[in-house]
Amino acid sequence: MTGQTLHAFSGIGTAVVAAVVCVAVWWADSRADDAPKPTRDRFDDLEIIDAALAEKSPEKVVQPTKQFRQPDEVKPTVVSRDADAKPAAKPDEPPAKDPKIDIQQVLDRHRDDDEDLEPGEVTTQPAVGRFDGSEDGFGDETKGDPYLGALKAELLRAWEYPEILSDVGTPVGCIHLEPDGTIPETVLREKSGNAELDDSVERAMRELQKKREAAPKPVPAHLIPKTRKWICYRMRV
C-alpha cells in the first residue's frame, strides 16, 4: 500500500468519525428538548415565609486605614496684611450656667404622676422603672457614668464569696438609690439556685447600704431621673 493510499484512508476515516460524533450530539440534544419539564405542581401548596430574623454576624473590626489621597488644592487668595489693624471682636460668650441645681425642681420635673392618683384611678403613665419591680435598671443608658461606676465598684468591694464554693450562678440584686445617695432598700430580684451565692450578694448589698447610710454620696442631678428606678446588678463571681 502506497503512502498516498494510506493518506486517503486516514482522511476518509477522520471524516466518518466526525460525522458520527455530530449526529450523536444532535440526537442527544433533540431528546433533551423533548423530555418533560418539571412542573411547579409540587410547590403550589407551599407558602413563602419571610424570614427576617437571621442572626447578623458582627461586623469585622479592622484597624482604620490611612487614606492616601492628594490634599485638596489650596487656591491662592489675596491677603491684605495690615499690621496696625485691630483684631476682630470675639463673639460674646454665652453666660455661664448657674452651678446651683435645685434638686426639688428636678424631682418635680420628673415627678411620678401616680402619686396623685385617687384609689382605683388608672394610671396613664407607662409602668417603667417603678420600685414595685415592674422594671429594672438602666444599664445601657448610663454605661460609663462615673458615679454609677463608683457605686458598682463599692458594691463589688463589699462582695465576698468563699473560694471553696462553686461559682456557678448569676443572681440579680437591686438597690433603691435615693437622690441624697442613701439606699433605703435592697432586694434580691433573681435567685441563682446557689444559696450561699445569693446570700453573699444580699450581704454585699446590705454592706453597701450601711456604708451609704454612714457616708451618703448625693446622686448627680443628671442621674436623678434615672435613679427613680431600681438599679439592678447581675452578679457574676
Binding site: D45, L53, D136, E141, L156, W159, I164
Partner: protein, 446 residues
Amino acid sequence: MLPNASLTSSIRDGLRRVLLTALLVGVILPSVAIADDGVIIDAAGAKRGRYPIATPIAVDSDATAAAEVAAIATFDLGVAGYFKVLDPKSFLADLGSEKLGLDPQKWKDVGAYGVVKYRVVVTGGNVELEARLYEVSKGTTPVLTKTYRGNRADLRDLVHAWCNEVVFYYTKENSFFGSKLAYVTKGKGKSSVMVVDFDGNSAYSVTRNSSTNVLPAWSPTGGQIAFTSYMRNNPDLYTVGAGGGRPKKVASYKGMNTGASWSPDGSKIAVTLSKDGNPEIYVINASDGSVVTRITNNKAIDTSPAWSPDGGSIAFVSDREGGPQIFVVPAGGGAAKRVSKNGSYNTTPAWSPAKGARILAYTTRDGGTYDIVTLDLASGAMVRVTQNEGSNEEPSWSPNGRAIAFARAGGGGSGVYIAPADGIGKAVKVVSGSVTGVDWGPAPKP
C-alpha cells in the same frame, strides 16, 4: 386519591402551624427576654474569701474535753487556709436545746455557712467523739457525720482527723492536720533538731549530742530526718529516725555537707558540698552518700538546694550575679536560670507541693528585715506572705501547699509561725523561742 390529598394537606397545614409556633417561641420570645435582661448592669468579680464556719463548744458532753475539742477544731480550721472561724460571742443559737442538731436560721443570721457540732463522752481512759458538719443552706440534716473512739490522750489526734474530713468534704484534698514540723532550737553551746506537731504540741528532740545540729529535712515518707551536725568537728550530713535514735552518717566529705533536700522518691539527696574548695550543689545517694551528679560548677557560692515535687528541677541560691539570688536547674544538671528578680537578697527557696504548681517560697530582704514571698514560676505572680512583723526566714510549705511555716525573730515574739500561703490573714505562732531551719513534714497517713 382525593381523601388522601386532603389528609396530606391537613397534615401539612398542621406542620406549618407547628413550625411557625416554634419560630415564634424559639426566636421572637427570647429576643424580648434579652431586651429585658439587657437593662441590668453586669457586675463581676467577687472577692474570693474564706468560708464562714462556726465551731461552737459541745454541750451534753464532758466539759473539759468539749472545751479542748472546740479549741483544737477552731485552731485547725482557722489555719487551714479555707475558713473564717466565727467568734462564739456572736452566736445566737440556743446550744443547749440544739445539742447536736441545728436551727439553720439562727446560724444564717450570724453569717455562718457551715457549722460543726460535737458530742464528747469520756468513759474512764476512753473517749468517744461524735462530730457533725452542717451546711446552713441545706437545713437540719448534717452533710457529714463521723464517730471516733480512742484513748482520752488521743483526743487531739481524733479532732485533727475530723478536721481533715471537713477540709476534704469541701476541697476533695487532704489537709495538714496531724503533720509535724522539724526545726532547730539554740541552747548554750549547742543547737538541737526538734520535732513538733504542726500546732505546736508534743515537741521532742531527735538529736541528743551536745554539738551544733542544723538544717533538718524530712524524707518524703516522714520516716527520717536528714540534718547537718558538727559532732565530728566537720559539718557532716546525717539521717535520723523521725522519732529520734542513733544518727546515721550519710556524707562526710571535706568541708561543707549541708542543706539536704530529698528527691521525691527518697533515694537521693541534693546537698551543698565544698569538697573541691567551693560550695557547689551535688546529688548524692541517700543510702551511702556517694556522689551521683554534680549539678553546679561555678566560681560563685551555690547553696540551699530544693528539689521540686515533680523531681525535674532543683532550685538553689547563688551569688554568681552579685547578691544571693534564686536559680533553677534541671535535676540532672544543665544550665541554671535565675528566677528571683526582685530585690538584691533572696535565699532559702522551697517548692510548693501543690499538684501542678511551680511555685517557690523564699526569703527576701526588704530594707532591714527579711520577709517570706512566693513566686509562681509560670505566671511570675508574687505573693507577700509576711510584712512588717519582725524578720521572717526559711519558709517551708505545708503538705497540701496551703500554708507556710517559717522562723520569725522579733515582731510578736520569736518562734515558728505558720501563715496562709495566699498571704491573706495573719501568721500564727506555734513554737516560741529562738529557732531556725523550719521544715514541714509530709501529711500524716490516714
